[in-house]
């Protein structure tokens, strides 16, 4: 079906996943006690569904949209000031997160356990990137940066990682059945 111009498909799909991330970032899933923002969830989903390379490309696209000032980040924020500001590290982190999460899954198997491990690793990468930028932009000490930027998000992060793996695998399975996912991981 897609032996012609598969590069074009990759571009479109990455673009669409960036758009989906932008939309999910605006949604807060009202789970009791810990409302879950869709932004990081979308990163995990993207990586689980379209894999390392294209997930990372989609996230670069998302970051660029935001840099251009389109309010794609959580809370309808956008603009270079968010990327360069204290919380911008999380967004840069998404790129590597998507890559690593996808890579772990590609190198192993698409099972719930592996997806869970991959997404947890991914979440930690996001948080670490976030904390690093937090430290440098706000002149925090490492302890302060980790205290405000990493610890408060770990529990929610684990729930999100579970959600991303579970939903991601379900969606991926369905998309493969419907032959909507081009054979990304082998050749594209």
């Amino acid at each position: 079906m897609n032996y012609t111009n598969s590069k074009l498909r990759v571009i479109i799909i990455c673009g669409i996943f960036a758009a989906l991330t932008a939309i999910l970032a605006q949604i807060t899933i009202p789970i009791p006690v810990v409302p879950i923002s869709g932004q990081t969830l979308a990163v995990g989903l993207t990586a689980t569904i379209i894999g390392s390379r294209y997930g990372a490309i989609a996230m670069i696209c998302y970051a660029l949209l935001g840099a251009a000032g389109v309010p794609v980040f959580a809370g309808l924020k956008g603009g270079a000031q968010i990327l360069l500001g204290p919380t911008g590290g999380y967004i840069f982190g998404f790129i590597l997160t998507a890559y690593v999460t996808g890579l772990i899954l590609e190198k192993t198997k698409y099972t719930l356990t592996m997806a869970m491990i991959a997404n947890t690793v991914g979440m930690l990468i996001t948080l670490i990137f976030g904390a690093i930028q937090l430290k440098f932009v706000l002149d925090y000490t490492w302890a302060q940066a980790i205290g405000t930027g990493v610890f408060p998000f770990i529990v929610v992060g684990l729930i999100k990682a579970f959600l991303a793996s579970w939903l991601g695998l379900a969606v991926r399975k369905r998309l493969l059945q419907a032959k909507l996912l081009p054979q990304f991981h082998k050749a594209a």
Binding site: N2, T4, N5, K7, L8, R9, I11, I12, I13, C14, G15, I16, A19, L20, A22, I23, Q26, I29, P30, I31, P32, L45, I49, I57, I60, C61, Y62, L64, L65, A67, A68, G69, V70, P71, V72, G75, L76, G78, G79, A80, Q81, L84, G85, P86, T87, L138, D139, Y140, Q144, I159, L163, W166, L167, A170, V171, R174, L175, A178, L180, L181
Partner: protein, 269 residues
């Protein structure tokens, strides 16, 4: 949600609105870097003056700018607070156990506050006066030199415009899917954690399936119309560098010189 579609564009015909997006982006990013040259009150006064002039010339009401600061206010104040507490030196105004409020702490805190607010104001000027599509065109144009380094700039530009174009469609789609599931009796935001997670599946599945369907359709349509990746393409929207854009960059250079001068002035006194 409408805001996501329109961006934060505030329609107008002001001097700033008519600037080339490239000039605006360069100026705003440049401003953020120049900001770090400021080290005394004279330099901050100059920067504030610049910020206010930029805001004035955009003819966008001040309250819209203030609205942009509000979501970040908590974080800014928290940082200022930490700065005040942990910077020592100068006269001590207040001491209670480990909590010391010193002269340098207050000054530093105030400067950091100014820096944040100015960054937000100046980048808001850009986003309020430029349409998202012009912004992505601008970014694309600025990235062009990267082509020499084998960065696929045109593909990135295409991807960005596809994203922008799809955001409204996907928003609609999400709303439709949620309504459809509600009509079938799904209750969002109720029940146990697991139960709520389960309600997400019937939202995400159709959403992703339909978006990928769209992707497939779009790819077919583009191929049928003769799209070839890597081929030279012309653009429907052209960017023109005008007189005022050069003026804008001159203003930025003057600002830098002014800052460098005041910085040294401050050192001598």
């Amino acid at each position: 949600m409408n805001k996501l579609i329109l961006g934060r564009y505030f329609p107008g015909e002001s001097w700033v609105h008519q600037l080339d997006p490239r000039a605006k982006i360069v100026a705003a990013v440049y401003f953020i870097f120049v900001l770090f040259l400021a080290n005394n009150w004279q330099t901050y006064v100059l920067l504030w003056a610049f910020t206010f002039i930029a805001m004035r010339y955009s003819q966008v009401p001040i309250r819209i700018y203030l609205r942009g600061v509000r979501p970040l206010l908590y974080l800014i104040l928290f940082t200022v607070f930490l700065q005040i507490l942990f910077t020592a030196g100068g006269k001590i105004y207040f001491e209670w156990g480990p909590i010391v409020i010193s002269e340098y702490g207050l000054i530093n805190g105030f400067y950091i506050f100014c820096r944040f607010v100015m960054i937000i104001f100046v980048s808001t000027v850009v986003t309020l006066t430029t349409k998202p599509i012009d912004l992505t065109d601008g970014i694309n144009a600025l990235l062009k030199p990267l082509r020499k380094m084998k960065v696929p700039v045109d593909e990135i530009a295409l991807m960005l415009s596809i994203s922008l174009r799809f955001i409204p469609n996907l928003l609609d789609e999400t709303q439709k899917v949620m309504d459809a599931q509600r009509a079938r009796g799904t209750e969002f935001g109720e029940g146990s954690l697991l139960k709520q997670m389960k309600t997400l599946v019937p939202i995400f599945l159709p959403l992703f399936v339909s978006s990928l369907n769209r992707a497939e359709e779009m790819a077919n349509v583009m191929e049928v119309r003769g799209y070839q990746s890597g081929a030279t393409r012309s653009s429907f929207r052209q960017l023109y560098w005008k007189h005022r854009d050069s003026v804008c960059l001159c203003v930025m250079i003057t600002l830098t010189l002014g800052l460098l001068w005041l910085r040294n002035e401050g050192l001598f006194h």
